[in-house]
Amino acid sequence: MVDKKPLGRENALEVIDKLIHWSPGDLTEVVLRSDSTALTRFTKNYIHQNVAERDYTVTVRVIFGKKIGSVTTNFLHDDSLKEAVEDAAAIAKLQPPNEEFEGLPEPEPLPDVDCFVPETDSFSAKSRALAVKEVVEVAKERGFEASGAFSTGTMELAVGNSRGVRAYNVSTYAALSTVMMGADGSGYAEASGRDVREIRPGEVARIARDKCAMAQNPVSIAAGEYEVVLEPLAVAMLLSYLGRAGFSALAVREGRSFLTGRLGQKLFDEKFNMWDDGLDPRGFPIPFDLEGVPKRKVTLVENGVAKELVYDYNTAKKEGRKSTGHGGFRGWGPMPVNLFMGEGTATLEEMIRSTKRGILVTRFHYTNMAHPLKVLITGMTRDGTFLIEDGYITKAVKNFRFTESALRVFSTLDMIGRETVRVERTVVPAIRVPAFNFTGVTEF
C-alpha cells in the first residue's frame, strides 16, 4: 500500500515476457494483477475499521499439448518467478491431457478505454474520513445511526501468452455505501464508479436518510403474492442471477442453463432487453478479459427473445466462433459480468401510481439460487420495504422472504423505469411486476 505507484505497462509486460521466455511449455499464459486498495468502514456514526493493502499476483499456466499446470505467486523476484514457471511445468506433466482444452487466443487489437482516474488513485484516508463525516452528519440530523464503507482502489491487469497476446490496463474504482438505522427501520443507498469525484457523500446519505425515515414503524403483513415495484438495487440482483444462470455458452452446452435448446425463443416480455457490454462507460468499462481478448457487446435478450450467449476462447473454438471477451473463469466457463437492462418509459412514481396493493422493494439481502434451471431465487427484502395502496405508499412493512423465479419476473414485468442506475457492474432501471411471491415474513 505504501508505495502506491503502479507497476506500469512496461514493468508489467516485462514480467510477462520473462515468464514466457523461461517457460518450457508448448503454450504459456500469464495473468498479472497489482492491487492497491483502501477501505474505511463506519458503524453507529464512527469509523471502526480502516484498512489498506498493496499486493501483486502472478498466475502462470504452462501447457504441454493439452496438459496444463498453473501456479500463482505474489512474489515478483526473478527467482520466485522462475520457480513458479518450473513448478507449473512440473505439475502439468503429472496429469493426463485435458481433452476439452482448445488452446490460447491469438492477439487482437484492443479497444482504447480510459479506466484510470488520478483523483481516485490518490484519494487518501483523510479524504475518506471527511466523506464519512459528511454521511454521519446527515444521519445525526435525524437522530439516525449511519454504518457503511467507503473504498477506493487502483488495479492493474496484464495478460500475455506465448501466441503474442499482450494486454495491459490500469483502472480505478470507488464505492460508498451506507445503511442508516433508526429505532425500528433502516434505509440504504450506494454509489460507485471509476471516478471518486462522481460520488457525492451528502447525496448518498440523504437518500439513505429519507428511506430510513420512511421505514420507521413497520407493520407486519401476511406473505403472499403481491404486485411489486422493484427499485434498481433489487432489479440488479435478479438480473445478475439471470445472466449467470442462463447466458454462459458452457452452461448451455452442459445442459445447466434454462437456455439449453431454447436460444432464439421469446422467453421474456417484449419490453425486456438485456445485454453485456464491458466497454460502456455507464458501467465499469475494461478493454479485455482475463484471456486478453477484447470485450465485445453481446445482445443477450432483444425484445424478449433470447439472442446470444457469452463465450470464452475455449467455448467459442468448440463452436467455430470468436470469443466475446468473457473468459478467464476457468472451469466455471464464460460469464456475463457487465450487464445492462434497457430502460422503459415509466417514472418510479408512475409505477407506484399503477399499483393497487403492492410492495415497494429497495433491495434484497442474502439471496441464493434454489433451482438453476428455473432461476428460482430466495432471499430477503432489506432497508426500506413499503406497502403501496391505491397508488400511494401508505406504510413501512416488516421484511419479507421471497421465493421467486427470475424467469417469471422478466417475462411478466409490465412497467420499466426510464432511468437506469449503475449498481456495481450492472446498469438497470426500476421495474413493476404484477405478481411476485413473498413466502415468509421476519420480525423487523
Binding site: V2, E53, D55, P96, S177, H371, T442
Partner: protein
C-alpha cells in the same frame, strides 16, 4: 523474522500507538479439480505478506504489504498509524479499550498424520479421475466434478504487549459431485457434502477416510433418480435433518448471530446485525432443553481449530447455548471489554492483508441420546433432508430458508419415497425450540466449511461444525411454487 516484527513494534511505539501488532503470514495451497474425465485445474499458489494494526488516539488503523523488507515494514507501520489518525477524526464518544490478555511466547502446530503436500500429485489426480469414472455410466449425468485441496499456513504474530506466537496449520479437503439434467429438470448429488466436500485441520488421512470411490456410483445414481423423484410436498410437518445440513443450519442461525461484533453493529452495512442482543445474554431461550451448542477452537481436526487467535488469545471451548439457554458470544478483546469480559479468542484474519474480525471456531450441536433410526421410527408424518443446496437468512439471523439436495418422506415410522427440491423455512429461535431429538455420539460428525464470507473488504474463514442428525417438530417445508 523476529527482527522485522520487532522493527514494526518499535516504530508503532515511537509514533505513540497505544497498542499495535504485526502478523506475517505465508500461505501455500494446492488445488485439483477434475471435470468430466479431465483435469480441469491443477494449480498451486503461494502468498506471503504482513499486516500491521495500530491503535492510536483510541481508534484503529491497518495497513499491509507483500514486500517483506525492513524499509517496507517501517513505511507500513507509519501508514497504519496515519490511517488510525484519520479514523480518530470520526471517532466514537469513547476510545477503543482492549480487554487484557497475558502476553505469550509460543509455537503451535496442527496435528497431521500424512502431510498432504508429500502425497504424490499423480496419486491425488488418479483418485479423483477414478471417482469420476465411477460416476460416468449414466447419460443423464452431464457434469461430474472431483475436487481436492490442501493448504499450509505459517503465521507469526507479535504485539507491543510482548506476545510472539508462531503457528503452522495444515488443512485438507475433498469431495465429488454429479449433476444430472434431463427434460427440463436438473439435480445434483454430492459426497461427503456439497460445495467442495468436507474439510479438516488435518492431513491426507481425511481424504483416505472419505473413501470417495465407495460413494461415487451412489452419488451418480441418486442424481439421476432425483430427476424423476416426487416434488417435496408443501406443508407443516416434522423434519429430520442429516448431520451435514445441520452443520450449515448451525452456521447460519447460531454461529453468525453470536458474533459480538455483529451484535454491536460492526457488520450492519454489509452482512447485518443480530437478534441476539445483549439483554438476552444468560436468559434467552434460544432452543429446547435438548439443545446445547459449544464453540470449541481446541477440537482436534476441526477446521476452526487453532492454537491462538489473531490477537494472541489462546484457543478455548465455550458453551454458547446450555440446555436451550443462550449463555455466551464469540468475542474479541475490544468487544469483550464492552461486556466487562475477557476475549474468548475468536478473532481471525483471512491472510496477511486483512484485519482480524470475530469468526466462528468450531460451533457444534452436542450429541443427544437418540439414533437416526429411532427418530424415523418415532415420526408419523415428516421428511428427512440431507446435503445442503441453498441457504438464505435475514440480516438479523431470524428468518431462514434452506434447500437440500435430497429428501425422503417419512410415513408412520418408515422411510418412504425420495423427494426432489426439498426446502424448509422458519424463525431461528422457534425452530431450535422445536428440536426434540438429537442423535448420539456414534452419529456425530465434524464438518469443515472453507467458505464463510464476512467483512469489507471480503474475508473468507475456514470454520467447523459438529452435529448428529436431529428432529424438529412442525416445520414449514416445500416453500414456493415449483
Amino acid at each position: 523474522m523476529k527482527e522485522l516484527t520487532q522493527k514494526a513494534l518499535d516504530v508503532l511505539k515511537e509514533l505513540g500507538a497505544s497498542y499495535g501488532d504485526i502478523r506475517i503470514v505465508e500461505t501455500r495451497t494446492q488445488t485439483i479439480r477434475t471435470k468430466n474425465g479431465n483435469v480441469d485445474a491443477l494449480s498451486s499458489s503461494r502468498s506471503k505478506g504482513f499486516g500491521i494494526r495500530a491503535l492510536y488516539d483510541g481508534a484503529w488503523g491497518f495497513s499491509s504489504s507483500s514486500t517483506l523488507t525492513e524499509d517496507e515494514v517501517v513505511k507500513v507501520a507509519r501508514e497504519a498509524v496515519e490511517i488510525a489518525k484519520a479514523s480518530a477524526t470520526v471517532k466514537r464518544d469513547k476510545d477503543v479499550v482492549l480487554s487484557p490478555v497475558k502476553p505469550v511466547v509460543s509455537r503451535w502446530t496442527s496435528p497431521v498424520k500424512i502431510d498432504p503436500f508429500s502425497v504424490k500429485t499423480e496419486d491425488k489426480v488418479a483418485l479423483l479421475l477414478e471417482a469420476d469414472k465411477l460416476m460416468a455410466d449414466r447419460k443423464e449425468v452431464k457434469v461430474r466434478i472431483g475436487s481436492m485441496a490442501c493448504q499450509r499456513e505459517d503465521k507469526i504474530f507479535a504485539s507491543t504487549e510482548g506476545s510472539y506466537i508462531e503457528q503452522t496449520k495444515v488443512e485438507t479437503g475433498a469431495g465429488i459431485e454429479a449433476t444430472a439434467a434431463d427434460r427440463g429438470e436438473l439435480q445434483r448429488r454430492s459426497y461427503p457434502t456439497s460445495f467442495g466436500g468436507n474439510w479438516a485441520t488435518a492431513g491426507y488421512e481425511i481424504v483416505e477416510k472419505m473413501k470417495l470411490l465407495d460413494h461415487a456410483e451412489r452419488v451418480s445414481r441418486e442424481a439421476v433418480e432425483l430427476l424423476s423423484a416426487k416434488q417435496c410436498p408443501s406443508g407443516v410437518m416434522d423434519l429430520i435433518i442429516d448431520s451435514s445440513q445441520l452443520a450449515l443450519q448451525i452456521h447460519e442461525s447460531c454461529g453468525h448471530p453470536i458474533e459480538l461484533d455483529r451484535v454491536f453493529g460492526q457488520e450492519a452495512s454489509f452482512a447485518g446485525t443480530s437478534f441476539l442482543t445483549t439483554e438476552k445474554l444468560g436468559t434467552f431461550q434460544y432452543g429446547s432443553e435438548e439443545v446445547t451448542i459449544t464453540a470449541d477452537a481446541t477440537l482436534p481436526g476441526g477446521l476452526g481449530s487453532f492454537g491462538f487467535d489473531d490477537e494472541g488469545v489462546p484457543a478455548q471451548r465455550v458453551t454458547i447455548v446450555d440446555k436451550g439457554i443462550f449463555k455466551n458470544y464469540l468475542t474479541s478483546r475490544e468487544t469483550a471489554h464492552e461486556l466487562g469480559q475477557v476475549s474468548n479468542g475468536a478473532m481471525r484474519a483471512d491472510g496477511w492483508n486483512r484485519i482480524p474480525i470475530i469468526r466462528m471456531t468450531n460451533i457444534s450441536l452436542e450429541p443427544g441420546d437418540w439414533t437416526l433410526d429411532e427418530m424415523i421410527k418415532d415420526t408419523k408424518d415428516g421428511i428427512l433432508v440431507a446435503t445442503n443446496k441453498s441457504w438464505s437468512i435475514d440480516d438479523k439471523r431470524l428468518n431462514f430458508q434452506f434447500g437440500t439436495e435430497i429428501a425422503w418422506e417419512i410415513k408412520d415410522g418408515s422411510l418412504g419415497a425420495m423427494l426432489k427440491n426439498p426446502t424448509y423455512t422458519g424463525i431461528t429461535y422457534e425452530f431450535w425450540r422445536s428440536c426434540d431429538a438429537i442423535a448420539g455420539k456414534d452419529e456425530w460428525e465434524l464438518w469443515g466449511l472453507p467458505n464463510c464470507g464476512k467483512g469489507e473488504p471480503g474475508q473468507v474463514a475456514h470454520v467447523g461444525h459438529g452435529a448428529s442428525p436431529a428432529r424438529f417438530r412442525r416445520v414449514k417445508v416445500g416453500v414456493g411454487k415449483w
